[in-house]
Amino acid sequence: MLEHLPVLPILFPMLAAPLCVLIRQRRLVMGIAIAVCWVTFALTVRLLLLVMTDGTQTYEMGGWQVPWGIEYRVDMLSAFVLLFISGIGAIVLSYAPLSIEREIPRHQHYLFCTEYLLCLAGLMGIVITGDMFNLFVFLEISSLSAYALISLGNSRRALTAAFQYLVMGTIGATFILIGIGLMYMMTGTLNMTDMFDRLRQPVSAGGDTQIAINTRTIAVAFAFLSVGISLKMALFPLHMWLPNAYTFAPSAVTAFIAATATKVSVYVLLRFVFTIYGTEYAFDKLPFNTDLTILSLIGIVAASTAAIFQQNIKRMLAYSSIAQVGYMVLGISLASLDGLTGGIVHMFNHALIKGGLFLAMGCFAYRLGSLQLDDLRGIGKRMPLTMFAWVLGGLGLIGVPATAGFISKWYLINAALERGWWPVAVLVLLSSLLALIYVWRVVEVAYFETPNERHAAVQEAPLALLIPTGVLIGASIVFGIWTEWSAGVARQAAEILLQGTS
């Protein structure tokens, strides 16, 4: 069983999805879906433990030999990302049954489960696979199911948001496909580790012989890939799809996608830049790290500022997410051990914080219906536990010590100062203050104002919704102090990435 472990996290959700369509019975489907998600989580835990003891795990699909067959390759980074993606998938789905009662019509619940499982399978696949085209396929699987999930929102704007995301996401994925195609053209392989070797071999292009990686084709491929990936991870200025998609999707969907989809795209960037192209190419030959630094800093400041002016709290958190992606990319662009650790651990920390915050928003949506700032007036008195969880999540966004957000900020600032780029460090710190403004706006309204008359009779959210929220927010506090399994693992993953392919 253990040799097949790399495939199982993809297999279980992918097989369960059509099962849900066939069974249709709402409760049974929910039960199966939740069980499958938790099993997947357990599998990824086992996988991480295996990778920590035995090193990188490889698996040849169908027994076909590498590099002609598709290889699944799980190293420390993959295992880490798998762990928190499936963990959050399981927690959010456990939260979902009660939440979608109010937001999605009953006859569509089984479809929600199906799409959810497909999305999870796709995300697992992206992280596990070691083949580039396979990556594209799984990317599209997860994206298509994400579009469908978003369109399940109860406003008609969910449909247009899903459509806009579809168009932009497909363009992004197609750019990635072009990039992969150009690389295949030059090297003849689609396997990631093989690609790394072949890029460093000579090819004859247009009569003269060059090392493949120095050709213009590969540079163009890199450009297409980076634009496509940036679109998928909502790096400024390719972030326009995100606010609408997060705002109008059902609460559980927003929580799931906010915590996973963009992080997996950051993972894809890490894979391409470090495992396939290698740092000397991306950072020494091309000024990629300068580009990324500038774009991420602009994104952080612009998105945080935009968040301050939002009236819809979900939209505010969406802009906050765009800023937080900026932090992750900033960590990558700093390309040192601390920078990369910061970027990778922020994937994890932000997933916990944002997941928890959107689950708290789901609790509010369950009781209040609408999520404008006005609706949250005085809610601190009526829904104290939910609001307290929200405040803790907000403190995590600001980066207060003892929250997970602080850990990421520490590594980023340290990495920036190591390079002597103190303006970058100052900007990161000032952006925390921007986060303070938009978080505290909500805190003040929730605790100081008199409750809105429309919501005079609301009570605390039900326990089934509070517990998953509490788990994620609690985790963000725990991992703000005990970081052996978050920053520690991220550090090991960063070391492996910086060494090159192992």
Partner: protein, 491 residues
Amino acid sequence: MNPETSIILALLLPLIACLSIAVFDKRANIRELFTLACAGTLLCVVGSLASHVFAGARPEWSLPFEVVSGLGIAFQVEPLGMLFALVASSLWIVTTVYSIGYMRGHDEQHQTRFFACFAIAIFAAMGAAMAKNMLTLFFFYEILTFSTYPLVTHHGTETARRGGRTYLSILLFTSVSMLLLAIVWTWNVAGTLDFRPGGILSGKADDSLLGVLLALYVFGTGKAALMPFHRWLPAAMVAPTPVSALLHAVAVVKVGVFTVMKVAVYIFGTDLLTRSGISLWLMYMAGGTVLLGSLVALTKDNLKARLAYSTISQLSYIVLGAMLANSLGVLGGSMHIAMHAFGKITLFFCAGAIYVAAHKTEISDMQGIGRRMPVTLSAFFLGSLSVIGLPPFGGSWSKWYLALGAAEAHQYPLIAVLMISSLLNIAYLMPVVIRGFFFAPPDGPERPEIQEAPLMCVIPLSVTALSGVALFIYADTIWRWLEPVASGQPW
């Protein structure tokens, strides 16, 4: 008791108090009993720890895992921190008794939240006092900021909200953009964040860099209320007086100046500072704050506002001592932590007592109040003498040592600053006493029912007022305790 256990208990007791307060939300008397029990136990624990530390031991304890980059949450008690812990824990009991009297006398809302946040603030102060490295100190510094926000905005009114906003924004702006930057930078340069005698930065970077770093630390410690980052202190006066008393005369501001002192002595080291002269301009900034704070205090009619600016001024004495960085300066500054705490808390207690009993906040209204509230106003008088720095009150010793330290460093203008500020202190504190005792009460609808404040308010303020005398007598002991800090010997 094992010193390590004492450290753990000192941290746990305020948290246990917070939990029990939350549990016994409805049963006010049991709730208060728990706070008092925990506070009393804390004082005993801290006292036992003190007996080890002042005998030369340096007990430590740390969490067994790292938080970032090889750094962890670690505690090690040394004399300066021990003194601060003693002050904070002894004043917790006193303030709790006072708060009970005040909150009940005033029939305040949300008492559970008040006492619970108080306990967390004390937890943060204990953690900061015992911190072994700058990261731990920073953790507790920020926890203190956030745990005191509900206390500052306790009344929930629009003014409270705005006051809270000023409070939070200035404190977080300084701590995030300057203090955290300084901490990470120190980590980068020195490779460690531990507090060590002699500092960790000597020889690690050139002086101009260290100068910037020091400035970032001193201005980044917003809680030390060095101008221009002092506005949060008067803004925080919207809080109920027990909050102002403990937190803004003792815990919050003292964590601030304590941080500055620790940075000066254990991160930079007194030798480095005196040799390089990078603290010179900061010395003058502190001196300026001393004068400006006192001058502004003169203009304030609201008693709490006047006391707030007086605090700003007094805090800069301690910063001055730290920046002088010679042994007398450090000694004087550290002693002033204790002296000022007891003196100022007396003054705030009195202000609160006057508010509870007579509902007066403006000094111009307080004519003749001494006739009705003799104990309160006498305590105010004694507290003022300590703050002004006259014998036989403790404040005189700390000022004396600061002046000696300034003389030793040949900073004669600073001695003048100290003298002038003492005169200004007299000028803004004495009128309150004089008006209260010697002026006739204004005619008109006299409130004959003005009596002395409730007993639970009067006892604490008398205790702290008389402590000023005790501190004067035992200043020698405190001097001996603090000597290892000032002399910079290795542990």
